[in-house]
C-alpha cells in the first residue's frame, strides 16, 4: 500500500501527481471465495478488513451493487458517540469510539476525526432523568457524560439563544459527552477499502447479488449475481435496509423494517458551533462540518420506505424545532437535503448473528449504524471466523427474539 504522508505528497507534487497508485485494485472476479461479504458500505468493508487483519482470512470478496461507500455511509450525519443506557450497548460503543479515534493511523488515511464533544440540550425533566440514568451507567464503563448548567451550556454554544424562560420548552441544562466526535464519512469507506484491498480482499463494484444460494443440506453455498454465480461457504449480509430483500431469497424472515431518515445541510458559513448539538426534547441534532455547513438531522419518517428523499412535514418539524433554539438560523439557508434507509429491528437494537441458515451471517438493525462501523466490523469478523459471537455483541443475536427478551435502548438520539 502506497504510504500517504506529507513527504509522499511533496514527492508527488514534483511529478505533477502522476504517480499516485489507485486506492484499490479492480481484480477479476473469481467464482469461489472463502467469504463473500455483500455490501461495500462501512460495515461490509470493515468486516472484510478485520477478517484479513485479525483473523488472517484474506480470500474475501466484497460485492457491491453500486459504488463502494455509496449506501448509508454516504448519507449520514457522522456522529460518533457512546452515550447509551444499557449494559449490553455501552461497552460496544465505547470500543467503537476508541477504534474510530485510532483509525486514521491504523489505515494510513486521514479520517479527519474531530473529537469535538456532543452536548445535549435538555428541555424536559423526564428527559433529564433518562440522561442522568445513562450517565451513571456510562460511568461504570468509562464513557463520559456530565451535566452542565444552562448558563454553561449557552457559554459553550453561543448560538443557542432560544429556549428562554418564556419559550414553549425552556432549556433546563446540558449534558456533555466529551467522547463524541465527527469525522469524514467518505474517508472511512475509502480508508477501509484501501486497507482491506492491500491485505488481499477483493472489492467488486457494480456487482449486484440477486439471490442467496443454499445447498441441498440447507447451508449457504454462495450467491447469484449479475456477473454470475459465486460460491462461498460463508456469506455475510451487510446491506442495511436491503437485508430482508436478500435474506428472503433464501426463505429467511427477519424482524426488520426499512425506514427513511433524512438529513440536510445548510450553506457553508464561518465557524459558529464547535460541538455536536443534540436536542432530544425538540427532536433534532446538528454539527458544523469543516467546510462550514451545518449538518442537521431529525427523526425518521414513520412508514416503511426505500426512498431516499425527504417528506416535507418531517423536514418542517425538524426545522421549526431547530429555529426555536437557534433563531439566528432563520437567515441561514438550506443547501441540500437527502434521505437514507434505516434498518430497524423489532426492538430497535441491532442484530448480529449467524442465521438459521448455516454459513449465512447478518449484521442489521443499526439505524444506519455509522458509529458502530469499526466495532461492528471487528465483532462480525470474529463471529464469521470463530463461529461464535464476540463477547461485546453476545446480547445482540437473534436468540433474544425467541424469548421476546428485547434489548430496549430507550432514546436513540432524537427520540422525543
Amino acid at each position: 500500500m502506497q504510504k500517504y504522508s506529507v513527504l509522499s505528497l511533496a514527492r508527488n507534487a514534483f511529478s505533477g501527481h502522476r504517480n499516485w497508485s489507485p486506492a484499490w485494485r479492480s481484480p477479476p472476479l473469481k467464482n469461489r471465495y472463502d467469504v463473500v461479504v455483500i455490501g461495500a458500505g462501512g460495515h461490509g468493508l470493515a468486516t472484510a478488513y478485520y477478517l484479513a487483519k485479525e483473523f488472517g482470512i484474506t480470500d474475501v470478496a466484497v460485492l457491491e451493487r453500486g459504488w463502494l461507500g455509496g449506501g448509508n455511509i454516504a448519507r449520514n450525519t457522522v456522529t460518533i458517540r457512546s452515550n447509551y443506557m444499557r449494559d449490553e450497548s455501552i461497552p460496544f460503543y465505547v470500543k467503537s469510539v476508541a477504534m474510530f479515534e485510532g483509525l486514521t493511523h491504523e489505515l494510513n488515511f486521514n479520517m479527519m476525526h474531530s473529537k469535538r464533544t456532543m452536548v445535549d440540550v435538555v428541555q424536559t425533566w423526564p428527559k433529564l432523568r433518562e440522561l442522568r440514568r445513562r450517565q451513571l451507567v456510562m460511568d461504570i464503563y468509562g464513557s463520559t457524560y456530565e451535566q452542565i448548567t444552562s448558563e454553561e451550556l449557552r457559554r459553550r454554544i453561543p448560538a443557542l439563544t432560544g429556549g428562554g424562560p418564556d419559550a414553549r420548552l425552556p432549556v433546563i441544562c446540558g449534558m456533555v459527552h466529551t467522547d463524541a466526535g465527527v469525522n469524514r464519512h467518505d474517508a472511512v469507506a475509502w480508508g477501509y477499502a484501501r486497507a482491506a484491498d492491500a491485505r488481499g480482499v477483493e472489492i467488486h463494484q457494480q456487482t449486484a447479488v440477486q439471490s442467496l444460494l443454499r445447498s441441498r443440506h440447507g447451508t449457504i453455498e454462495g450467491v447469484e449475481t449479475n456477473r454470475g454465480t459465486i460460491r462461498a461457504n460463508k456469506v455475510v449480509v451487510a446491506v442495511s435496509g436491503h437485508t430482508t430483500t436478500l435474506t428472503e431469497t433464501a426463505g429467511l424472515k427477519l424482524p426488520l423494517r426499512t425506514m427513511n431518515l433524512t438529513a440536510f445541510v445548510s450553506e457553508p458559513v464561518q465557524p459558529l458551533v464547535d460541538v455536536i448539538v443534540n436536542c432530544p426534547d425538540s427532536g433534532f441534532y446538528f454539527s458544523q462540518s469543516d467546510k462550514g455547513e451545518m449538518v442537521i438531522g431529525g427523526a425518521p419518517d414513520m412508514g416503511q420506505s426505500f426512498r431516499r428523499d425527504i417528506k416535507q412535514h418531517v423536514f418542517e418539524d425538524t426545522v421549526t424545532a431547530m429555529l426555536s433554539l437557534f433563531p439566528s438560523f432563520k437567515k441561514l439557508k438550506l443547501m441540500r437535503q437527502w434521505g437514507g434507509h434505516l434498518d430497524i429491528s423489532h426492538d430497535a437494537s441491532p442484530i448480529m448473528d449467524q442465521t438459521d441458515i448455516a454459513g449465512l451471517f447478518v449484521t442489521a438493525g443499526w439505524w444506519g449504524g455509522y458509529k458502530a462501523i469499526p466495532a461492528g466490523g471487528l465483532t462480525l469478523a470474529h463471529l464469521v471466523a470463530k463461529g461464535e459471537p464476540h463477547p461485546l455483541m453476545a446480547s445482540f443475536t437473534m436468540d433474544r427474539f425467541r424469548h421476546l427478551d428485547f434489548v430496549m435502548e430507550a432514546g436513540t438520539t432524537t427520540a422525543r
Binding site: H242, T244, T245, K253, L254, P255, L256, R257, T258, M302, G303, Q304, S305, F306, R307, K311, Q312, H313, H346, F401, R402, L404
Partner: protein, 85 residues
C-alpha cells in the same frame, strides 16, 4: 406529505393520519400455535421493496382505520396488486 385516500373523507394530507404499521399475519389463536409461530407473528412484518399493505388511522379526520397499498420505493398509493392475498 402523502395524499392518502380515506374511504369516508376522500384524499387527505398525511398529517391527518397516524401510521399504523404494515398489515402482517392475522393474529393466531395464541393457545393453538407454538412459541416460534407466536414470535414470528409478533416480530416479523412484511418489508418489501414494492407494494406493502399498511394501516393508517385517520386520527385527525373521521377516525377511520384504513388499509392501503403503498409502494415503498415510490410512495405511490395503488390498487391491490394482482397477486395480493
Amino acid at each position: 406529505m402523502l395524499l392518502i385516500p380515506c374511504p369516508y373523507c376522500g384524499k387527505r394530507n398525511e398529517c391527518e393520519f397516524i401510521y399504523g404499521g404494515p398489515v402482517g399475519a392475522k393474529r393466531p389463536d395464541p393457545n393453538a400455535v407454538n412459541d416460534a409461530e407466536w414470535v414470528e407473528y409478533l416480530t416479523v412484518t412484511p418489508n418489501p421493496q414494492g407494494p406493502v399493505q399498511e394501516k393508517w388511522w385517520h386520527a385527525r379526520g373521521c377516525g377511520e382505520w384504513l388499509v392501503i397499498w403503498r409502494d415503498t420505493r415510490t410512495h405511490d398509493i395503488m390498487e391491490a396488486p394482482d397477486d395480493a392475498t
